[in-house]
């Protein structure tokens, strides 16, 4: 290796380059942009221009911090209500996804080995087809003269259409539908590794199946439950497209507030402050996700 130290190709396989490239990529496209959001959130509409990011007027770089956007968020009842409502919908989505996804992943992991790849692909396939088009499809199903209402009326189940669109119901269906695969995949990864001998041991010792499930299976799949829940919960909080297309004006979601502050009001400091508060809300779930994802990874390495 030493004799060809100067060749380009040797440099290519070098440690510095392999670490350096992603470093530069993520610092310039992720770390610095987030710092800029933080900075803009601490300025006012008048001073929030990129030209005076740093104030040089005193001869040295200084930052003027202005908390007015944050004060406004804290004092305005609508912002607080919208954050709470976003957390509520994200929680409901996570719980329903877990309730549907856990049994599904459990049964999938117990299905005959040779059909499991097909079952998995059938879960992945909708995930590959456009998310936006699938949300649009729900709109055609749920509107008042939509496919579900028309079908129920023509079957004589009812005479008047049920108002399902633009309600918390339509929003929740859209969110559960979109995020369900994110719950199922980590749960399946976890449950398919579960050592069946633990369950057999419990059965041999006379434990009932239900008790075995609660006392053995569920605790052993804790990493999968937490990873899946966080993968659903975190992006749900800031969801924009689903509430915009299915939620109507009565369902409050913070992603839409950020969008409107930016695109309709052109208020960059407010949009940035809304984003920073949202990031603070998801920090703990993010840390949980990182911890349990690396746990799962090390489980895999150990197995």
């Amino acid at each position: 290796m030493a004799q060809s130290k100067n060749t380009f190709l040797n440099f290519f396989s070098g440690r510095k380059l392999i670490i350096g490239v992603p470093y530069v990529w993520f610092i310039s496209l992720a770390a610095i942009p987030l710092l800029i959001v933080l900075k803009i959130s601490l300025s006012t509409m008048e001073t929030a221009s990129v030209s005076n990011m740093v104030d040089w007027s005193k001869g040295w770089p200084s930052l003027t911090l202005n908390f007015s956007s944050y004060q406004f968020i804290a004092s305005d009842a609508l912002y607080v209500k919208t954050y709470l409502s976003s957390i509520k919908y994200a929680l409901i989505t996570t719980i329903i996804c877990l309730a549907i996804g856990y049994p599904f992943a459990y049964f999938m992991a117990r299905a005959p080995k040779h059909i499991q790849p097909t079952l998995l692909m059938l879960i992945m396939l909708p995930f590959w087809t456009s998310f936006l088009l699938r949300i649009y499809a729900w709109k055609t199903l749920l509107v008042n003269n939509g496919i579900i209402n028309n079908a129920l009326i023509s079957l004589g189940v009812m005479s008047e259409p049920i108002a399902m669109m633009n309600t918390p119901f339509s929003l929740t269906i859209g969110m559960v539908y979109s995020y369900l695969p994110f719950m199922i995949l980590p749960l399946y990864a976890n449950l398919s590794k579960l050592d069946i001998r633990y369950l057999e041991a419990a059965a041999d010792l006379g434990t009932s199946p239900l008790k075995t499930f609660w006392l053995v299976t569920v605790p052993l799949s804790k990493a999968g439950i937490i990873a899946g829940s966080m993968l659903v919960f975190i992006p749900s909080i800031g969801e924009y497209v689903i509430p915009e297309l299915l939620g109507g004006s009565n369902t409050l979601m913070i992603g839409r507030v950020l969008w409107d502050e930016f695109f309709s009001n052109n208020d960059w400091p407010m949009a940035s402050a809304v984003a920073i508060v949202m990031i603070l809300l998801i920090l703990v779930p993010m840390a949980l996700l990182n911890k349990y994802q690396s746990d799962q990874a090390s489980d895999k390495a150990g197995a």
Binding site: M1, L9, S13, R15, I18, I19, V21, P22, Y23, W25, L29, A30, A31, P33, I36, V37, V50, P103, F104, Y106, F107, R110, A111, L119, M121, L122, L125, W128, T129, S130, F131, L132, R134, I135, Y136, A137, W138, K139, T140, L141, N145, P209, M230, P235, I237, G238, Y240, G255, L258, W259, F262, S272, I279, I282, M286, L289, N290, Q293, A297, A301
Partner: protein
């Protein structure tokens, strides 16, 4: 265990979930062949909305733009994602490793509105200082590539983890230089993962509406942006037609790529078995 009941319940549960997942897609496809102007009321079968789609210049130019962006940003994503995967897999200890891995995870879960806002504010600052880039094709590419890098890294990482490290070692023992090990051993073994990473990031880009809306400039409307603005206004049968076309193409691509991957895998296993049996003889 009460196997019988459990088994039927399990099958019914799985069937119900699959129906829930596929119901919207199936209705979308069926109603694309509906002649009625009302998207949700069936009259009779026709290709009316496909000819409307063929005449829809806005939508078609948006599709081309989206295809271009998806192709280039998927290439970029696979390139940078492979670097991330190698950095995090090959080197277990370096300064800022946790920082790099959490930065690489961030775009996977961070709400897209935040990623879009942050990137836009950064690009506006850069434009202010350097005079470029103008908002448009390039800025959308960067945003999609950032998102795609994170996904590509996940795909390549999982492949690197299950790869047989002994092959690299054997090549090195036989006197290969590190770049030869990469081009002759590691890279060929990675190809299936790179292909699926490319397909995944291509579809992500082709589907993205939020990042594009933040990062695009006047005159640059991607297909999802056009569909989103129409879907906001109401139902539109042309969307059903364009949906059916995309769904068909994606389904064929995914199935073909999974056949390709399993084919490559089988071939490699056969060759390795042959090599081992030669070695033993």
């Amino acid at each position: 265990m009460s196997h019988g009941l459990n088994k039927y319940f399990g099958k019914a549960w799985m069937l119900a979930v699959y129906m829930f997942l596929y119901l919207p897609i199936v209705t979308l496809v069926i109603y694309s062949f509906n002649d009625s102007k009302l998207v949700t009321v069936w009259s009779h079968a026709s290709l009316r909305w496909y000819s409307a789609l063929a005449a829809d210049a806005d939508l078609i130019s948006a599709v081309w733009l989206s295809l271009k962006i998806a192709f280039v940003s998927a290439l970029m994503s696979v390139f940078f994602g492979t670097f991330v995967a190698f950095a995090l897999n090959r080197y277990k200890r370096f300064v800022g490793r946790t920082f790099l891995s959490s930065m690489a995870n961030m775009p996977l879960v961070m709400p897209e509105v935040i990623v879009g806002l942050a990137l836009l504010l950064m690009l506006v600052s850069v434009q202010h200082w350097l005079g470029f880039p103008e908002r448009g094709l390039f800025t959308i590419l960067l945003g999609h590539a950032l998102l795609g890098t994170a996904y590509a890294a996940v795909v390549v990482t999982s492949r690197l983890k299950e790869m047989d490290g002994r092959l690299d070692e054997a090549a090195m023992d036989l006197g290969s230089k590190p770049w030869q090990v990469f081009t002759l051993v590691t890279f060929p073994l990675l190809v299936p993962a790179l292909v699926s990473a490319f397909l995944l990031t291509f579809t992500l880009s082709f589907d993205d509406v939020v990042l594009s809306a933040f990062l695009s400039g006047p005159g640059y409307n991607t297909m999802p942006m056009v569909i989103f603005s129409r879907a906001r206004l109401g139902l539109n049968p042309t969307i059903n037609a364009v949906a059916t076309v995309t769904i068909t193409v994606v389904t064929i691509a995914v199935i073909a790529s999974s056949f390709y991957t399993s084919h490559v895998e089988r071939k490699r296993k056969r060759e390795m078995a042959l090599a081992y049996s030669d070695a033993i003889r």
